[in-house]
């Protein structure tokens, strides 16, 4: 019924408690998982090499037909010779430039439309179904129409990418904004935030994790689309390179193109992942 076991040092001055420090071992143990994680993560970026390894082995063992699936070593050889001759760089440059422009042209409107329709009921009810009706329009089927409007030059390629990216960004941003907890919007409203502020201060950051999903999907899809778009009216670009190699049945060269474009896509996805880690530090893990 009274103190039986009062800790003797409970009257120590408070400062003492705050200056309490971890032992060196504890310090090390505290940091160890993070260091281990970092090391593991850095290694894990290279896990896709496993695919190449399996492929090489299968090709060497004759499990797959080398005429149609040349082993990565053969692809690498051609790859290197094309690097040396700088031939590949021209194509990479053209593709990257088209992807970058098209990506931005689609992602920015998609982002805004997603936030806008996510926040406001009436626009959502009117514009939402229109977008849902436009989304499944087969892009490859309207390609000639896009060429008609935008010409056979790079603009039509930007537009094709932009269309694909727009919908991915729109739906993901929209979904993210629809999931913004009501309480955050209430806080904003109670402080008198205007629509623009709700847009930028609440909806955007709160939807960021899902926006990043959208960015990753868009980036991957951009490279898929550009490969298809460069089949048309282009004289450069990795997609053109793949297609023309295939037309002339140069299988190894075709694979050089496929691997190149996949690597570009992978690097972009990894970059977005890294950015996400910085920009969304409050997310789990």
């Amino acid at each position: 019924m009274s103190a039986t076991n009062t800790n003797t040092d409970h009257m120590r001055p408070a400062e003492n408690a705050v200056t309490a420090e971890l032992s060196t071992q504890e310090q090390a143990r505290l940091r160890a998982p993070f260091h281990r994680e970092r090391v593991f993560r850095n290694f894990s970026y290279f896990s896709p090499l496993v695919i190449l390894l399996l492929w090489e082995i299968s090709a060497q063992l004759g499990a797959i037909d080398r005429r149609f699936f040349p082993p990565p070593s053969a692809i690498a050889e051609t790859f290197l010779s094309m690097i040396v001759s700088l031939e590949l760089f021209r194509h990479i440059g053209a593709t990257l430039q088209r992807v970058a422009v098209g990506f931005l042209m689609g992602a920015i409107p998609g982002l805004f439309m997603g936030i806008f329709l996510g926040l406001f009921l009436r626009p959502r009810q009117i514009v939402g179904p229109i977008l849902a009706a436009l989304y499944p329009v087969p892009k490859i089927a309207i390609l000639p129409l896009i060429l008609l409007v935008f010409g056979t030059g790079d603009m039509s390629k930007y537009v094709i990418i932009a269309i694909g990216v727009f919908f991915l960004m729109y739906y993901n941003t929209f979904g993210g904004v629809r999931q913004v907890p009501q309480i955050y919007l209430d806080v904003a409203q109670s402080t008198g935030a205007n629509r623009y502020q709700v847009f930028t201060q609440i909806a955007l950051p709160s939807a960021l994790p899902q926006i990043f999903t959208g960015l990753k999907l868009s980036a991957g899809t951009s490279f898929i689309i550009i490969a298809a778009a460069e089949f048309l009216g282009a004289r450069s670009g990795v997609g053109f390179f793949i297609w023309s190699s295939w037309q002339t049945f140069s299988v190894t060269r075709m694979f050089v193109g496929i691997v190149t474009i996949s690597m570009l896509g992978y690097l972009t996805l990894t970059l977005i992942d890294l950015i996400e880690r910085r920009v969304v530090p409050w997310a789990r893990n």
């Binding site: 309480i183 955050y184 806080v187 109670s190 402080t191 008198g192 935030a193 409050w282």
Partner: protein, 260 residues
């Protein structure tokens, strides 16, 4: 006390119900609720869990529309609100959360951080200015919300169990600070609490609500002189009389939701 005769908050015949389209059923949260708060007054609202306190506050804050009846906040400006729920933005640091209302007003970052520095002191989060909410304890997050509402410097302060998750010591300190700010600024405060002690310590008037649908059961004047000393207060016979009165009101009314 700077209570005047001007009215600051008027709630008149407020009825609020929630409709559930899936089951075509309704929950009546408030039925014909009426009360008013004078300018500069500190009013506490107590009542059983689920009786509609938060709902009333949300209607006053213009976050919900009344089904019938009227609610008016007289005079300029919108009220500042401390929400019952965890409402700290996870993507902003402690200091940015607290300074958020100033950001809404378009103040520069430097200025708004300067202006809110004393609030960080006030809620005892000095070493945590730059921390993100997921690095804080439950009580620390609640303190951020309180500081954020104070940063608004609104004439009317609506607080929904703001000190609920705080230890008594921190709670007492913040109560004293709140009273000091209130006294100095002449703000009107509507304060929801589930602690009769707290209500009697803080309020000019205590409104006791019935269980759902909430109506005002009693409107009790708390006449203790200010500044109030928490310990002194408990020595006062009237404190216990009032406590007893509130408790018996609540007891007569608060039964498990389903037992009625």
């Amino acid at each position: 006390m700077t209570v005047t005769t001007e009215t600051s908050i008027i709630v008149e015949g407020l009825t609020k119900a929630f409709y559930e389209p899936r089951t075509d059923s309704e929950t009546i949260a408030l039925k014909n609720l009426s009360f008013s708060v004078r300018k500069g007054e500190f009013v506490c609202l107590v009542g059983p869990s689920g009786c509609g306190k938060t709902t009333a506050l949300r209607v006053i804050a213009d976050l919900e529309q009344p089904l019938s009846g009227a609610v008016q906040v007289v005079g300029g400006g919108r009220p500042a609100v401390v929400f019952q729920e965890q409402s700290v933005f996870p993507w902003m640091s402690v200091q940015d959360n607290i300074a958020f209302p100033l950001r809404v007003r378009g103040m520069w970052r430097k200025e708004r951080l300067e202006r809110t520095r004393h609030l960080i002191d006030l809620v005892g989060l000095n070493r945590f200015e730059k921390s993100l909410p997921h690095q804080l304890s439950g009580g620390m997050k609640q303190r951020v919300s309180v500081a954020r509402a104070l940063a608004e410097d609104a004439d009317v302060l609506l607080m929904d169990e703001p000190f609920g998750a705080l230890d008594e010591q921190t709670r007492l300190e913040l109560q004293q600070e709140l009273l000091r700010i209130w006294d100095a600024s002449g703000k009107t405060v509507l304060f929801i609490t589930h602690s009769v002690d707290e209500a009697l310590t803080l309020a000019d008037r205590v409104l006791v609500m019935s269980h759902r649908p909430g109506r005002i059961l009693a409107d009790l004047q708390v006449g203790f002189s200010r500044p109030r000393d928490v310990v002194e207060l408990r020595r006062d016979e009237r404190f216990w009389d009032l406590t007893y009165e509130v408790w018996s009101l609540l007891k007569g009314s608060a039964v498990g939701e389903g037992e009625a």
